[in-house]
């Protein structure tokens, strides 16, 4: 287990370095000059040179990358902004605030959104999928299967405003979506995020219903399920004690992949409900050609996905004894 974790963490670090390297390079491949943007509309050549020097952009690309990378561990001193203690992701070109602080401020919003939606997706998707498999061919199965097709074809920016209009403006059942820190008031946190969670999970849940249903049916046709029946196990205990474990393995795999999409969906959801999360930071960073912010958001996002995927791998071993972690 320990050696497995060490290997995975090392692998994760390599992946993160790769991602940051590519993002870094891509940024310079775009034709817009960040120094010019930073300098303002009227910008004499000497000032532009100075800005470029102060931002460290007159150094070779590789050196710039190294400075950025080392700053995460040892901090860095900027002529322009002053000292930046580790972990330092630089200062935003656009707002001049430390990137790390901006991300730390916004991170809980996106994390709450993503984790909450994951809970809704997995619990609801697996539950309806199991029900559909349990009642296969019966009305309940048909309702679950067809509603999952409808769900899969909906869009966040369409459903979002519609739900807000219906539940908030017309019926007044729920408060307008916003973010209240969990540590401040868990109940308010929950109630205010309920709509974004449900809206974000709608498209995904449908997929998990379908997958769970088909996986359960596949498992139920397996030889070992027949053996369990031949041992005198009841249909119900075969279903809930044997078949589900086999069915969960592919579902967890897909979920590990979907986490990235879910994070992307969280960005759209934040925009739809004007929640001030990482997604908003990312969108603004792209618009402003804000390299440090963009890099910071990308790397933190990638790190989150990589960590969650390690968690998924550990879960594997708990469900399937054939997966050995060492």
């Amino acid at each position: 287990m320990t050696s497995f974790l060490v290997r995975r963490v090392v692998g994760a670090l390599v992946i993160l370095i790769f991602i940051s390297l590519i993002t870094f390079y891509l940024f310079y491949a775009v034709p817009r000059d960040p120094a010019r943007a930073f300098c303002g509309k009227i910008c004499p050549p000497e000032t532009l040179e100075l800005v470029r020097h102060n931002l460290g952009m007159d150094k070779p690309l590789f050196v710039q990358y190294w400075l950025w990378l080392s700053a995460i561990f040892v901090g860095r001193d900027f002529t322009q902004f002053g000292p930046c203690p580790a972990p330092c992701l630089g200062y935003s070109f656009a707002t001049q605030e430390p990137v790390f602080n901006a991300i730390v401020d916004r991170f809980p919003v996106t994390l709450s959104l993503t984790l909450g939606a994951s809970v809704v997706i997995l619990s609801f998707g697996i539950l309806t999928g199991m029900l559909a498999a349990w009642k296969v061919g019966q009305p309940l199965d048909k309702i679950a299967s067809s509603s999952s097709v409808i769900g899969a074809s909906l869009q966040i920016y369409f459903v979002g405003p519609l739900v807000v209009f219906l539940l908030v403006d017309t019926l007044g059942l729920l408060p307008r979506p916003s973010y209240v820190p969990f540590t401040e008031d868990p109940l308010t946190w929950f109630v205010h995020l309920l709509i974004p969670w449900v809206v974000l999970s709608i498209i995904f849940t449908a997929n998990y219903t379908r997958m769970t249903r088909s996986q359960m049916l596949e498992q139920l046709a397996e030889d070992y399920v027949r053996t369990a029946r031949a041992k005198g196990m009841s249909g119900r205990s075969v279903f809930f004690r044997f078949a589900w474990r086999g069915a969960m393995i592919p579902i967890i795999t897909i979920f590990g992949v979907d986490l990235a999409t879910l994070l992307g969906g969280a960005i759209i959801t934040e925009q739809t409900f004007t929640l001030h999360g990482i997604g908003e930071l990312a969108v603004r960073a792209v618009q402003n050609t804000d390299l440090p912010m963009l890099l910071g958001v990308t790397v933190v996002g990638a790190a989150a996905i990589v960590i969650l995927n390690i968690v998924v791998d550990v879960l594997y071993a708990f469900i399937d004894p054939r997966v050995r972690l060492n």
Partner: protein, 354 residues
């Protein structure tokens, strides 16, 4: 004082008879292409403590028959007619609660592929002990001890350690031993072994068959052994039932069927097998043709398209009328050839081979 006679209602009980009696069993599956008559009017008996070998090609209805004994067919797609009596209990149409109490308890089954037939997610010990707990109401501790005892009985070394291992940590032969331990944990009266050695290599095959024989001698278990290997039958069974296209082609004791086979299909099966006594050059003769589709089986005798002797019968009996097995008891077969004709064919046959 009046004598109360406990004569039971008809259809729920009957007098002393064979241990397992299958009467006119039909199993039909509805598929997208039509109705498959997997078993069509099959009758046979098994006496207590004996072994019946059921032989036939793939798709002849061997496994389907035995899954029907345990009521393991999906009722949504299956129609079962006829009677299956286990002593005085009728199994066709029995409630699922009745069948659940029976399965793994009085009637146990072992399957062909021990790798896919064991749950990969649970330890061997747990898979064995849960049967015992379910049917005997034993405690966790008792069931675990019993599982260890069973593993020991089927010859698994270090059973106390092995009990906590998962199936993927066992070899093929050990998995099948564990499977047998699981099937025997409640001391069943009837054990159905569905090609128990097909997935194993030859030396392990022999060990598993010896194990089944030993266990039968010690505990008096009745065994139905499904196989397509006549060699296995010759070594293990007391009686044989040869099945073809969902019906009985021939039945009798092992000695009768193997040394004086009567049905042309049985002849075919035997001549497709190598023998130690025949010369090395003697060709193996496969049964020509392929098994019929059970969606639309041939009219008359289902074997007639593959049979070389149908013209000997005279008239067109073989093509129009389905033969029933005769005589009723003892060595019987479902063929219109007279015994004299069969003897003539067989002596000619042996001459050709010699």
């Amino acid at each position: 004082m009046t004598t109360v006679s406990w004569s039971s209602e008809p259809g729920t009980s009957r007098g002393p008879g064979p241990f397992l009696s299958v009467r006119d069993l039909s199993v039909r599956f509805s598929t997208e292409d039509g109705v498959v008559r997997a078993v069509d009017g099959l009758s046979f008996d098994v006496e207590k403590g004996t072994t019946l070998g059921i032989v036939g090609e793939s798709g002849s209805g061997k496994s389907v028959t035995n899954l029907a004994v345990l009521g393991l067919h999906d009722p949504a797609h299956t129609e079962i007619d006829g009677e299956i009596w286990l002593e005085d209990q009728e199994l066709v149409g029995a409630s699922s609660a009745t069948l659940e109490k029976l399965r793994g308890n009085r009637v146990a089954m072992i399957f062909q592929d021990p790798l896919t037939s064991l749950s990969p997610f649970h330890t061997i010990g747990r898979q064995i002990s849960e049967v015992y707990r379910k049917h005997k109401g034993a405690s966790r501790k008792e069931a675990r001890d019993r599982a260890i005892e069973m593993l020991e009985r089927v010859g698994i070394p270090q059973p106390a350690t092995r009990v906590d291992h998962y199936p993927h940590e066992f070899s093929g032969g050990m998995r099948q031993r564990a499977m047998i331990a699981m099937a025997l944990v409640c001391d069943p009266d009837l054990l159905i072994a569905d090609e128990p050695t097909t997935a194993l290599d030859v030396t392990v095959q022999a060990q598993i068959l010896d194990l089944l024989k030993d266990l039968q001698q010690q505990y008096g278990t009745t065994i139905i052994l499904i196989t397509h290997d006549l060699g296995v039958v010759a070594n293990t069974a007391d009686n044989v039932l040869v099945m073809y296209a969902g019906r009985a082609a021939e039945r009798g004791t092992v000695r009768e069927v193997l040394s004086k086979p009567r049905h042309p299909y049985t002849w075919g099966l035997l001549s497709s097998m190598p023998r130690l006594t025949s010369s090395v050059d003697a060709p193996l003769v496969p049964v020509r043709g392929t098994p019929p589709s059970l969606l639309s089986p041939p009219a008359g005798c289902a074997f007639h398209p593959r049979c070389d002797f149908s013209q000997l019968v005279g008239s067109d009996l073989c093509f129009t009328q389905r033969p029933d097995i005769s005589p009723e008891n003892g060595h019987g077969d479902a063929c219109y050839l007279t015994l004299q004709q069969k003897r003539d064919i067989r002596t000619g046959d042996t001459k050709e081979h010699a």
